[in-house]
Symmetry: C2
Subunit: 215 residues, 2 copies
Amino acid sequence: MKREEKIPARTIERLAIYRRQLLELKSNRLSHIYSHQLAELANNTPAQVRRDLMIIGCSGGNPKQGYGIDYLLNSINSILDNDKAGQIALVGVGDLGKAILSYSNYQRSTPSVAAAFDIDEEKIGKVIASCKCYPLSEMKTKVKELGITLGIITVPSVYAQKVTDKLVSAGVTGILNFAPATLRVPNNVFVERIDITMEIEKVAYFANEYSRLGK
Amino acid sequence: MKREEKIPARTIERLAIYRRQLLELKSNRLSHIYSHQLAELANNTPAQVRRDLMIIGCSGGNPKQGYGIDYLLNSINSILDNDKAGQIALVGVGDLGKAILSYSNYQRSTPSVAAAFDIDEEKIGKVIASCKCYPLSEMKTKVKELGITLGIITVPSVYAQKVTDKLVSAGVTGILNFAPATLRVPNNVFVERIDITMEIEKVAYFANEYSRLGK
């Protein structure tokens, strides 16, 4: 596809999910899949799957076999991965930070967490889930040295802006923020927030709606 | 508002975010706010804020003072909270589960986590972040006893479906799933998934797009 066309954020999210499902199918030695099967695995509709795959230039599958799994994986990789995909700095090695470190190293995701940062003397210098923990004062150096372009923020919300400023001034251009705080960043920095309290309130609302409407 | 009108999921998400910002403003003794101020705090546009508030029946604020904060809070509470808002069961007390327990008890969110479940004998019977940990075999009893209607799943993905089935058969109708697995549930159960790997891949993609387009 022409890289000038903008791919919607929701499509990017779904492509990441398709990729994980396809990798799992491939590890189970499957070679082809129909859109309705992929839709079921991704909790989605066949029409949506076909639309997403069309956006990234995947032509319709063979009616007898469906889409080739390797073909889909190559196409998705060409969108989601790129030479510039850098490494991640995780800031705040509490329970949540540790959970993400263990998880991301277990999943061998690209990009992966290359360095952790904390202010706690007990943690600094230690290796936690295969990732070394550094003091905040070394952030600038480590970001350059390790080719870090992304940050994950798992600090208490009062520190979130300070940590963001440090990450941005070290050269990070994408941030995944778990702190319940709205971050101010320059225009060229992308921030995504995972707001666990909000998600719980949303589930509570819709769980109630579903039972109220007898859906 | 007429409760028959369906409120979009994205509006519900934003209402939860507005509420948190409004509570913080209130604790700082503010009484009124303009839509553009709330938009800035919620990382949103003034038009979107006004639309969301209109959906829940909040009339435009006073041009001299903006919206009354108590008025907005009451209106949002009447949508997000309800008599049936139950308690939460969290299943899987690993790093992520512990992080959510400490966080949700610190935030005093409604609903809150009333019971934790795990298979690890070391954890069963212990109180972790003010929350008692029970064996899976007691799920049905505890769900009934404590008025639990929601579940949070923080187990490895291979166990996620099994845990879901147990939660659903115990009477849970809303699930927040952190396991990278697509869950099968009956039609009357609402599932929301937080997919950390997908979010990281999304941030990586857009961080790169932003720097590529020089945005």
